[in-house]
């Protein structure tokens, strides 16, 4: 995780505007991802590098999330198993 909590941003943050459409984003990495996905043919070399970097960062976050989700699944599964074992 990159340390920023997702809830502490508001609409007052300086937005990152997409030059090719009317979308705007809270983080530079979101803009980079958006440009890679929606305007993939018009990317400059710098933007392509930013897109790759943002994807890597996203993968890293996803890997972390998957671990947490797996932990939650195991916790819920065995939690219920134990609760059922003792309450029936």
């Amino acid at each position: 995780m990159s340390g920023t909590t997702p809830t502490d941003t508001t609409d007052d943050d300086p937005p990152h505007d997409c030059p090719d459409c009317d979308r705007r984003f809270h983080r530079e990495s979101y803009l980079a991802l958006h440009r890679g996905q929606a305007h993939g043919d018009e990317l400059t070399d710098g933007e392509r590098a930013a897109y790759e970097a943002a994807r890597e960062e996203e993968e890293e976050e996803l890997r972390m999330f998957r671990l947490q989700a797996l932990a939650a699944l195991v916790f819920i599964y065995f939690g219920f198993l134990l609760v059922y074992a003792f309450s029936l």
Partner: protein, 464 residues
């Protein structure tokens, strides 16, 4: 090996416990056409509720493991056009319209003149068993054929042949008339013996016919798109179905549920309200047939609230609560996803996922009811004015597990649709995951509320 056995044990416990309480569900629906079975819970209520909520939460976690954008898109894109010959299509349309008109005529005539016993009266059986239970199931399991079947659409043909009034539908009304109409119908169903009294049913159908024909004649097809709650319910359910009509009108097949990901399905605030209302009325219908409601109603009437106001007020208050919860969940999801997207857009895009849940609950409530009473329906169809004694199918006990399966399937579908929509809306996949936290919490809350209602014994609504 050991692990596999543990898993099977866990899964069967979970399914078994949910099944037990769902067994009594159908009794509260379709009026009082059947006697209520006994309800009993083998596990403590808190455990029952948290298991249901847990199942929804777990489905969210499992779905979030699917992170391949191309795969998610490919599920939606897997569509095929069915080339149906024009002659066959025209023939089917004419046949469907005839069936609709004959059905409407039969309901009106037999409702007025047929036997007074609801289980032997064709009108009651056609409307509740054939149409509201059986036909509605085809709209989300197969496709929305209501525009072809709808007998009241003859008003549109009349409009083309006769001089029609030049009235344009005010845009700012949007779909609000349909929302009010849906709530109104459910209120009527709850407070009046619509499923018991064939004469009353026929009068209501006649009144609906007058209003619908006049409205459609005056306003044209916009009547069925914006005002008529019945056509709107079927259109909404039809979005779940595998068969669909694309823009140029030709038939197509898609993966069931993926139609809910289409951006143009819900067009504005009023359409969002309609979807939420569809989900709320299912809950309301069950809620008013529980002992806690009975106690609450007695207390409220005891302090001087007129009984006639109690039901509409509760209907509106609960609807407002559901709508507010949905909007709060959307706003919170938007904040956790760090998005600049307009909350209105998000509310519109995520609302259709709720239709999968509504369809799941509809099957759970009505499949057993439909199978049990279909012999009675057949009997009445063969001898409309003098049917024999009604026959009912007795369902095996495992059948409630099938119903439960549909409820879970509906929730799974909803979570998948919301997942796919979030991937479509947000550039970062972590945004997509985070946007779902609040909505999943609301779904867990909704499941637990529904399970709490189904685990209450049946108590006829008081003061009606």
């Amino acid at each position: 090996m050991r692990h596999a056995r543990l898993r099977t044990a866990g899964a069967s416990l979970l399914l078994g416990s949910l099944t037990l309480a769902l067994a009594g569900r159908t009794a509260a629906h379709g009026g009082s056409l059947r006697s209520e079975p006994a309800r009993s819970l083998a596990i403590p209520l808190w455990l029952f509720l948290s298991t249901g909520g847990g199942a929804v939460g777990v489905s969210f976690l499992l779905t979030s493991f699917v992170t391949d954008r191309d795969f998610i898109r490919s599920v939606n894109d897997r569509r095929r056009t069915l080339g149906l010959p024009a002659g066959l299509r025209r023939g089917l349309t004419v046949a469907a319209r005839l069936v609709g008109l004959v059905g409407l005529g039969a309901v009106l005539v037999v409702g007025m003149l047929g036997p007074a016993d609801p289980l032997r009266n064709l009108a009651v059986l056609v409307v509740w068993v054939g149409w509201w239970a059986g036909y509605t199931m085809t709209t989300y399991l197969v496709g929305n054929s209501w525009p072809a079947l709808n007998p009241w659409r003859v008003a549109l043909d009349l409009r083309q042949r006769l001089p029609a009034p030049d009235i344009t539908y005010p845009d700012r009304l949007a779909s609000w008339p349909a929302v009010l109409g849906l709530l109104g119908f459910v209120w009527l169903e709850v407070v009046s013996p619509l499923a018991d009294d064939p004469r009353l049913l026929a009068s209501v159908v006649a009144a609906y016919t007058v209003v619908t024909v006049a409205g459609a004649y005056a306003l044209g097809s916009v009547w069925f798109e914006r005002v008529d709650p019945v056509a709107r319910v079927f259109a909404a359910y039809g979005a779940v179905a595998p068969l669909y009509r694309d823009e140029d009108g030709s038939l197509g097949v898609r993966v069931p549920g993926t139609g809910l990901e289409d951006a143009g399905l819900v067009r504005g605030r009023s359409d969002v309200a309609f979807v939420v209302a569809l989900l709320w009325v299912t809950t309301y219908d069950g809620l008013v047939a529980t002992p806690p409601w009975r106690a609450f109603a007695r207390a409220v009437v005891g302090i001087g609230v007129p009984p006639a106001l109690l039901y509409p007020l509760a209907l509106l208050a609960g609807f407002g609560l559901f709508l507010a919860l949905y909007r709060i969940a959307i706003r919170r999801g938007r904040r956790s996803a760090e998005s600049y997207r307009d909350p209105e857009t998000l509310a519109r895009r995520f609302a259709p996922s709720l239709l999968a849940i509504a369809a799941g609950y509809h099957v759970a409530h009505y499949l057993g009811y439909f199978i049990e009473l279909s012999p009675a329906l057949l009997g009445a169809l063969t001898a409309p004015l003098a049917p024999g004694a009604p026959v009912a199918v007795v369902l095996p006990t495992w059948f409630s597990a099938v119903s439960l399966g549909f409820v879970l399937l509906g929730h799974l579908g909803a979570i998948w649709v919301a997942h796919a929509v979030a991937y479509d809306l947000f550039p970062s996949r972590m945004q997509a995951v985070r946007s779902q936290y609040a909505l999943t919490a609301v779904m867990v809350f909704y499941t637990m509320t529904s399970l709490w209602i189904v685990s209450r014994p049946y108590a006829a609504p008081p003061f009606v």
